[in-house]
């Protein structure tokens, strides 16, 4: 987070995880939009929080 460059691996991991989650939900229609949006937002926010924690530990 020291620079504004995005971590490409984290980006890819998150992208593939969310896509996989979406593919599953397309088939099952288990979650509505609201639930999907909340889950994805929480997932991304947590991941970015982890990124920050890891970065702080490195320093």
């Amino acid at each position: 987070m020291a620079n504004n460059e995005l971590d490409q691996k984290l980006m890819r991991d998150m992208f593939n995880e969310i896509r996989s989650f979406e593919i599953k939900n397309v088939k099952t229609q288990k979650f509505d939009n609201k639930k999907m949006v909340n889950s994805i937002m929480k997932y991304i926010f947590d991941k970015v929080g982890e990124e920050k924690t890891n970065e702080n530990q490195e320093y």
Binding site: N4, L10, F15, R19, E22, V26, T28, V37, I44
Partner: protein, 688 residues
Amino acid sequence: MKIKSIKLHNFMRYKDDNELKFSTDPEKNVTIILGDNTFGKTTLAQAFRWGLYETFNDTSYTKKKDIVLLNNEVIASMGQTSMQSVSVEIIVENDQEEIKFVRKANFKRKTGDPDDMTIKQIGPTILTMQLLESGVWGNVISNEGDNVEARKYKAGCVQEAIENMFPQNLSNYFFFDGERWNDLKSKTEDIKDSVDTILGVSGLIEMKKHLKDIPRSNVTTLLRGKLQGTSGEYERLRREISSLEQQIEDNQDELDKKRQSIDTVQRTIDSTEKTLNDNRKIEEDQKEYKRLDADIIQYEKIQAEYYADIVKKLSESARFLAASLLPELSDMLSKVNLEGKDIPGVTVDTIDYLIEHDECLCGTKFTENSEAHDFIISIRDLVPPEMLGGAAGKLQSMLETWEQDSLELKDEIIKKANDYEVSTSIIDEKVRDKNELERTMDRKTNLGPVRLQNKQAKEHLRTIQLAISRLEIQIEQDKNNKEQKEIQLDNVAKYDEDNALVYRALAYVEAMYDKASVIANNRKQTTLTDLNRIIGENFQRMFNDKEKYAEIGDDYKIHVYYHQVGSKTNYEEENLSNGETIAINFVFIVSILELAKEYRELEKENDEYGMENAILGLPLVLDGPFSALSNENTVLIANRLPQFAEQVIIFMLDKDWEASELEKYTLPEYCYRVAKEPNSNSSTIEKN
């Protein structure tokens, strides 16, 4: 994903247990179930639907409400209190995992009357699954939710597992019934969504929706909601952005409603146009009937005018009548024989004048008692008005004029009478036509309201399209405006640590959104082109027809065109035979499966963003697919199926089996026959 087996217990035609094991061999992946018509092949196809979704396909001979699940012979053998069950067990192989799904329902007789075969279900239908672990079936997990070995399964978990493997909204593709494919009346959007799902685009579209595209409540707006600011400017911008978001959401809702209403209006236009086209003859007859009616009224009016003219002419017939007296008058006048005895131009007054002046014009004196005086006195009685000779001549002359007039009058009356006759025959002819039409035409069907409805629907469609354009422009403007305000907001936001985290998350969201857009757009751009390439090839292979070609349109349906008809090029063939329609449906499904295979390879090759399971690998269960196809088409189609479907299960007639040449894709142990004893209602499955 492959289906390993299906086991039926007392299911409809199949009494007791009947099991089918399917080939999962990668090369020889075809399983054949042969049987005569009405022996129960379609029942087996129905067992898949019931086992997986607890639903049925309507067939030509059965409606869902009429279906009795429990075998008839079993019902007949049941006592009033005994209970019998129906179950379907399906074992599926998915990524080296085996899962057994069982759906079961219990039944009792409704009444104690032995002749009354009606039954009632006892309790709900039960759905369970078991996983095969180290060659042993694990615990039974119920769809109602279970706690199994410290693991909690929620309600609906078994159905969800089925949906994961065999999405019901795609079931028309893998439980393929070519004959009824066209009856499904799928909307373009539904077909497109299904194709997108099979080819792995739907997940990306959903991802974009959730990250950014859904108005107001998307990941981006929720994250932005976490931003904190203190200045008045910051709060003002937040309020304005929120208001714009609300506006975009409202307009988007309105836009969605308008787009949905297009479908309804379009259906009205289609159905009214179909009604009008189907009843064009009726409408033309009705128009002709009205025209004849109007003509008859018009000619009757003209005829009445002719009649009135004749009466009028006759009313002027005094001279006509007087003229008829002419011969008698002439006769009478000739008898009087005074003609020529009067002195032309001399009247009694002339004589009296001459006597009064005692002198003739020639100078002779009329002295009293002279010869000249006596003579002029004697002729005084022979000139008018004392004598009628000149008047009679005038009368005769007048009568002759009247005779001429009466001849002209007669001609005019004859002409009018002729016109009257002509109009009478025209009226008679039109009345005959009208009566004939009245006898044959449909007078009850009133297409006026249909035409009006069609016209109104077209006007409505134009209004909706206009409103959609306006809303799209408005939404675009609001989105741009919102983006501008968000940039302003970012500039005034306090860059504390919490906000930095939000901005970081937003940057990832933006990057993922862009990535999803790129992959989805590439896939969407190429899907139609790729699909059309494969459809073109398969059409040629399966039809072997050089004059025609097939293409998928924007409506995601296959259209067949002639390269050239007369001077017209790319002329669409709209009257496909039943066999051609089924074959075209096969071209469609085989091409989708073939493209799915291509895309799966592409996903495999992409180390970073490839997702092989995004592309569905589906088995293909076909019920009587070849019955309406020619032998040539059957062999061409049948040989493509095993190459692109994960697995093929076909219920077919013996004659089609020989024609299909599928033997080379079929292991002998996976060829079955549906058998039926002549005196039994139940069927059994036997190895062929």
